[in-house]
């Protein structure tokens, strides 16, 4: 189990990480979500032993991380944001080197390399130089390189930056497989869709501080509205009164945007028929209805007052 307590790291007057605490249990997939510059990479770097915190502690299986050569670092696999590979060498040579960093040599190294390449689907490209790989293949190899020593905890720092959707899905599949194998994943991203798809729990970080740490349903509960109906009215919004609509049971909000009515409801299945019937009864037939669900973007907006992408 990974536990981080009250980490703090400053660069001069800039506070990069300000009292970050989090826990990740066995087989848990934790998303570390935040805008660029929020302190995600610094947090991951401290956990991986690359940076020494000004204060706070990182423990792995209850043991604090101490020193460069601490054997407890074998429990961690780091997938850096950069493509940390030697382009000039074949994939196999890269993996042999990265395996050797963890004292893996000979048959155990070959076995570990074979399994990692199988997982990321690059077994047939083992002899090819990395410079001949596509961006997505390099990302997958970047992941494979962190798996060779069979770490219990994987730190993934924005592992899908710059890849096409197909490769991104392939990486997601790999991560889901790893999760099924009991690996603990700490996944930093500023893509909320990734966190929503992959993570059991999301830690939202902004300006170096944890501003939320919960499961997805828990985070959505922080919102006043989790489901939204976008209703395109046949006659525009002519004469429609919002107050009676807002007073319907289960309706949390209502607003007009041009010819579209946006209604926030607590329970989509229960409230939708009631709202639509009310509109017909009031002489406002509708042409088209779309439902939207609140997402982490909405959560971030609700918590910080800023959009995740604009922060």
């Amino acid at each position: 189990m990974l536990e981080v307590r009250a980490l703090k790291k400053c660069y001069g007057n800039v506070v990069a990480v300000d009292g970050v605490s989090l826990r990740a249990g066995v087989g848990e997939n934790i998303g570390l979500l935040g805008p660029n510059g929020a302190g995600k990479t610094t947090t991951v770097s401290i956990i991986a032993g690359l940076l020494r915190p000004d204060s706070g502690v990182v423990t792995i299986e209850g043991r604090p991380l101490a020193g460069d050569a601490d054997p407890v670092k074998r429990q961690i696999g780091l997938v850096p944001q950069d493509l940390a590979l030697f382009d000039e060498l074949p994939a196999m040579a890269n993996l042999q080197l990265f395996a050797a960093l963890y004292d893996l040599d000979g048959a155990p190294a070959r076995r570990a390399i074979g399994e990692a390449l199988d997982l990321v689907g690059l077994s047939d490209r083992a002899r090819d130089k990395v410079r001949d790989f596509s961006g997505g293949m390099k990302r997958r190899l970047n992941l494979a390189a962190a798996l060779l020593h069979d770490p219990r905890i994987l730190l993934l720092d924005e592992p899908t930056v710059g890849v096409d959707p197909q490769s991104r899905n392939a990486i997601f599949d790999n991560l889901e497989t790893l999760k099924q194998r009991g690996k603990t994943l700490l996944y930093t991203t500023h893509y909320m869709e990734e966190a929503e798809r992959l993570c059991d729990r999301v830690v939202i970080i902004d300006h170096g501080k944890v501003i939320a740490d919960d499961t997805l349903p828990g985070l959505y509960r922080l919102l006043p509205v989790t489901n939204l109906l976008a209703i395109e009215l046949e006659n525009g919004d002519d004469g429609l009164l919002l107050e009676p609509l807002q007073s319907l049971p289960g309706v949390r909000s209502a607003e007009r945007r041009g010819g579209t009515l946006r209604v926030g409801v607590r329970d989509l299945a229960a409230e939708t028929p009631r709202v639509l019937q009310w509109l017909v009864d009031q002489g406002h037939p509708y042409r088209h209805v779309v439902s939207e669900r609140a997402d982490l973007e909405t959560v971030f907006l609700n918590l910080t007052g800023r959009s995740l992408r604009d922060a």
Partner: protein, 432 residues
């Protein structure tokens, strides 16, 4: 710890061997430049050096002036061509000729009279290119010898010599200023020369006695003092030592830049995330850099041995010791470079400039003994000077292992200082 250490060293060597640019910079270019400089610096002692371009302006057209031009033309190190006075001056000014020798009208007659008497000496004009003052000095020396031989030959055996002797004899006889004893001795001397001239002219025997003129009363036997008797100085020994020093230091720059690039590409994060000590991470880089530098030194000198006959005339152990110490110094230098700048781009230009300066001061381009004495004294603080001295001592100078000890000690000291500074300055915690 040996598995990761070996793997890291092997990785660096493999990266070097697959990098065409690195191979070019470590082997092809130093060999090409070393070969060129070695050739220019006299090669294996068999190469003809360029002859000095000399223009001869003969305004006298006498037997003596023609003899002077003939003798100059026969000099092996001169390339003599006839010219007019204006043409000669213009050619020297343009740099197409190094020296012009102008023999004025009546030179032969005046020189003959000045040979035996106190008459005013005629002048030979020597026009020279001031950027080639050394060559003009050589030409003046040869000219002095040739003029002396041509004039004395004519004076003792030629028709104008007989006239000059007769005229000098008449002047002595009529002189009021000479002391009687001096006058008598001079009359006897000139009378003897006149009789000699008359006899030579009658017999037509121009090969005997002084008919060839006065000659230099000595010859020289030159010997280049090198490793052993009979071993010639090999210019390639110096040029290859110089180029090896320069391009191995460039390899050191690549070591430093490579570390910065690994940091920039995130590879350093992967290395640091592994349970490895700083000693393993930096030590493996130092070892791989030393091995590569040592290898490059040996391959370049092997080429010089096979193609240009550059031998280790001194101690082989000393040569290997200097090579190893220089390789270690290069590794330390490379590690230090990695700590100087934040990005490879910013560091490369500065480190190349610094390297070229120390290479130049170390005598890799031109031998340090050509430096002014104060500069020779100053350059002992430059590691390349010790490397050059060590390589030259062990190759063409042929000195024993004892002569390698000081260069080895100095290079190891530089290696320690560089490595110490590198470890102290290394940014372990940089995120990027």
């Amino acid at each position: 710890m040996m598995v990761p250490f070996r793997a890291l060293v092997r990785k660096d060597i493999r990266l070097f061997l697959v990098d065409r640019r690195a191979l070019l910079m470590s082997f092809a270019i130093p060999i090409a430049i070393g070969s060129f400089f070695g050739f220019v610096l006299g090669g294996q002692g068999q190469t003809d050096t360029a002859r000095i371009a000399v223009l001869a302006v003969d305004q006298d057209r006498s037997a003596i002036s023609r003899e002077i031009v003939t003798r100059l033309t026969a000099e092996k190190s001169l390339e003599v061509k006839p010219a007019t006075p204006d043409g000669a001056r213009a050619a020297v000014r343009k740099g197409s000729a190094t020296v012009a020798v102008v023999i004025p009208a009546n030179f032969g007659q005046q020189a003959g009279r000045a040979f035996f008497g106190p008459q005013q000496k005629p002048e030979i004009g020597v026009l020279y290119d001031p950027s080639h003052s050394a060559e003009s000095g050589m030409v003046r020396g040869m000219l002095a010898g040739d003029v002396m031989q041509a004039v004395s030959k004519e004076m003792f055996a030629g028709p104008s010599g007989r006239d000059a002797v007769r005229q000098s004899l008449a002047e002595v006889e009529q002189s009021q200023s000479l002391a009687p004893n001096d006058k008598k001795d001079l009359e006897n001397l000139l009378g003897s020369v006149e009789r000699w001239n008359t006899r030579s002219g009658r017999s037509g025997d121009s090969q005997a006695g002084l008919s060839g003129g006065l000659t230099m009363p000595f010859t020289t036997r030159e010997e280049a003092v090198t490793a052993n008797r009979g071993v010639k100085y090999n210019g390639y020994a110096h040029s290859f030592a110089g180029m090896v020093v320069q391009f191995v230091l460039f390899l050191g720059i690549d070591v430093g830049i490579g570390l910065l690039q690994q940091r920039q590409r995130g590879l350093w994060k992967r290395f640091r995330a592994a349970p490895l000590s700083r000693g393993v991470l930096l030590g493996s880089r130092a070892v791989s850099a030393s091995v590569l530098a040592f290898f490059v030194v040996l391959v370049n000198f092997l080429f010089a041995r096979l193609v240009f006959g550059v031998r280790v005339e001194g101690s082989m152990a000393g040569f290997l010791g200097v090579s190893a110490a220089f390789a270690l110094m290069t590794a330390g230098f490379g590690m230090l470079i990695a700590t100087l700048g934040k990005t490879p781009e910013a560091t490369r230009g500065l480190s190349i400039f610094a390297t070229l300066i120390v290479v130049m001061l170390g005598g890799a381009w031109i031998p340090s003994f050509l430096f002014p004495q104060w500069l020779q004294n100053l350059t002992v603080v430059v590691p390349t000077r010790w490397a050059m001295d060590g390589f030259e001592a062990m190759t063409w100078r042929g000195l024993g292992a004892g002569a390698a000890l000081a260069p080895i000690a100095a290079l190891l000291a530089f290696a320690l200082v560089f490595a110490g500074l590198a470890v102290a300055r290394f940014r372990w915690e940089a995120e990027g």
